[in-house]
Symmetry: C2
Subunit: 372 residues, 2 copies
């Protein structure tokens, strides 16, 4: 930072050229022999300030390295430019995509994201939310845990908020999500149509709104196809890689293993694939599988993973735009708004009709309606 030579006020001690002590509007004012309010107004482009003064102020501010103190502005009653983003796990492709899209939205409107990772732990979530409130964030975008603490709910409800994917009525917040039930039904239907009967669903606990909807879609497919649900298997647990891997191992080990598996979470899918890979299970000859979500590498798993694909990025962008608009206009709809995005089944190479015998067969049927 070059020190300007204009030594109009070199008498005033520590006139902000000290280097480290943060430069305040006061300092700029002294430097120019003006008052603080003029500085503030000039920088806010107030029409009452003469163009000449404005440029003078702007240049001085620039050269002194003045950066407005947002804390002070917030304290005056203005809400901050910080938006809380509360989600379970940023390594999950789902949430990374969401964060990226929201970050782009926020950036365009001058907002920043405070990233809070809950690991689906309600205590952690409560702490994080409290901190966000303390920081006086403008609002919160949240993928809530299955059962948030009462305090967390109360705090969330005291701010502008929107929920993503998981829809908790207790939050009475607007929601952007996917048609969990229908897409899971479509995926299951695909397997039933291929002739599978012993179909297993591995997914999140039904205490999660999404978990409940997905397992419900799974069951609905059986009813819809007139198939006896007795042959359906359900493994419900945490939406983690570990759970997926264990559940798949359990299913493979049992006396009459399923001929097809459908998963209800990206992480669970990962775990299942890991187990199938480790055990060298022949897919789809011995076992068909339908995944959940569609990170880029799903198409490289064996001949390509048949999966339920959802436009997460679009979903997040829609959510971000809508939320920021609401923040700015303060408009609060009476009933929470709900926006549902449709998912679609992408058929690749991991689903086929079941083998006639329980051993590995040579049959390898090519299917290909939505092949991509």
């Amino acid at each position: 930072m070059k020190k300007t030579g204009h030594s109009q006020q070199m008498l005033t001690f520590a006139s902000a050229a000290k280097g480290d002590a943060t430069v305040t509007a006061q300092a700029v004012a002294r430097h120019l022999g003006l008052s603080v309010s003029t500085i503030g107004r000039a920088l806010a482009d107030d029409p009452r300030i003469s163009p000449a003064t404005k440029t003078r102020v702007r240049e001085a501010a620039e050269s002194l390295g003045y950066v407005a103190n947002e804390a002070a502005r917030v304290m005056r009653g203005g809400s901050s430019k910080l938006v809380g983003l509360v989600l379970p796990d940023i390594r999950n492709d789902f949430y990374a995509t969401i964060a990226q899209a929201l970050s782009a939205c926020c950036d365009r409107e001058g907002y920043r994201l405070a990233l809070c990772i809950t690991e689906d732990d309600r205590e952690l979530e409560a702490r994080q939310v409290k901190e966000l409130v303390a920081a006086r964030v403008a609002g919160i975008i949240v993928v809530p845990t299955a059962n948030p603490r009462r305090e967390a709910l109360a705090m969330l409800c005291s701010l502008p908020r929107v929920q993503l994917l998981r829809n908790l009525p207790a939050l009475s917040a607007d929601w952007f999500g996917i048609d969990d039930e229908h897409c899971m039904q479509a995926g299951t239907r695909h397997l039933l149509d291929l002739g599978h009967r012993r179909v297993a669903y591995i997914g999140g606990e039904p205490s999660l709104p999404t978990g409940a909807a997905r397992v419900s879609g799974f069951r609905a497919a059986f009813r819809g196809a007139g198939v006896d649900p007795a042959s359906a298997v359900e493994e419900l647990g945490s939406t983690t890689v570990a759970f997926g891997a264990q559940a798949a191992a359990r299913l493979l080990a049992c006396g009459t293993p399923p001929t097809a598996i459908i998963t209800g979470s990206v992480q669970v899918t990962l775990g299942v694939l890991e187990t199938l890979h480790a055990r060298k299970v022949a897919v789809p000859d011995q076992l068909s599988i339908v995944g959940f979500g569609d990170p880029s590498w799903f198409k490289w798993w064996r001949e390509g993973l048949t999966t339920l694909q959802m436009p997460i990025e679009e979903l997040a962008t829609a959510c971000g735009l809508w939320f920021l608009n609401r923040l700015r206009s303060k408009s609060v709809g009476q009933r929470p708004h709900a926006s549902i995005t449709r998912a679609s089944l992408v058929i690749r190479g991991t689903t086929a009709p079941p083998a006639k015998t329980s051993s590995i067969t040579m049959a390898r049927v090519a299917i290909g309606t939505t092949k991509r």
Copy 2:
């Protein structure tokens, strides 16, 4: 939130039970007939306050839903509990892992992360950094762009800071990174040892510190093995999926395509794999490939991708711990500290000796020192 019945001060209008107007320490004080400072001290667990009052205050604060205003605290001179995390792209597994690890660190120490995604755009970076300074963050953890703007550098240098992966001397900041040059040399060496001569490197521009180090390691391997570097091919560009895909396509299309490719970025690797998959290139029979980084799905690409693996999570955790410690103790080392983490070559199924003829051969040699 239940309203407590203690109507000691029901006369004071709007005694904070109004529901929406944020509850201040003042409000709690009035509610209890105490002074603000007593409230502040009680909540700060000051020894001068009687235990009885402390509990009384704490309960009242709780039931009224009081949350301290951090902006006010910051304005009094305390630094905020916000740490800026500036990185190019959160969908990149590298950076997602880093964010996750740092978030865990910060959370443990009561800090929060402000996520800023630069997309490797220096203008965007400059804007984000300025906003972080305006927000009076306690410090910044940054993966800088190749060539940050002068203003951005100046601002960064005015705060506690640490750089990850990319090491820019201009920042004169502590750095946590990997031994880019050596690991790339090892990967290339592996290919040369297998007998490859026409080896291609596809990676980031040398304007990036990491890009420069990696390409330099690539070249060093040739020198080290006494192989004529004339047969080496270099494709340097942006560290994106698109560039990787295009570069690979270009290499395959040329008259005498390389018999092996080594990549210098996770995203580039993704692009290359995409092209190889689309063109149905026989790997490793027709072409050997060494990837960069090790997201979980690399081991599922064909027979498993041979790759340069680095303990990113440990790196980020080390960085976070060290940085937060520095923030708290204000200790500033004279010379910037540099911490280098070693990467390792993981040999899986995508590297083999080159085919004798230019066409596909049947030879498929199993290699397996570090197989995993």
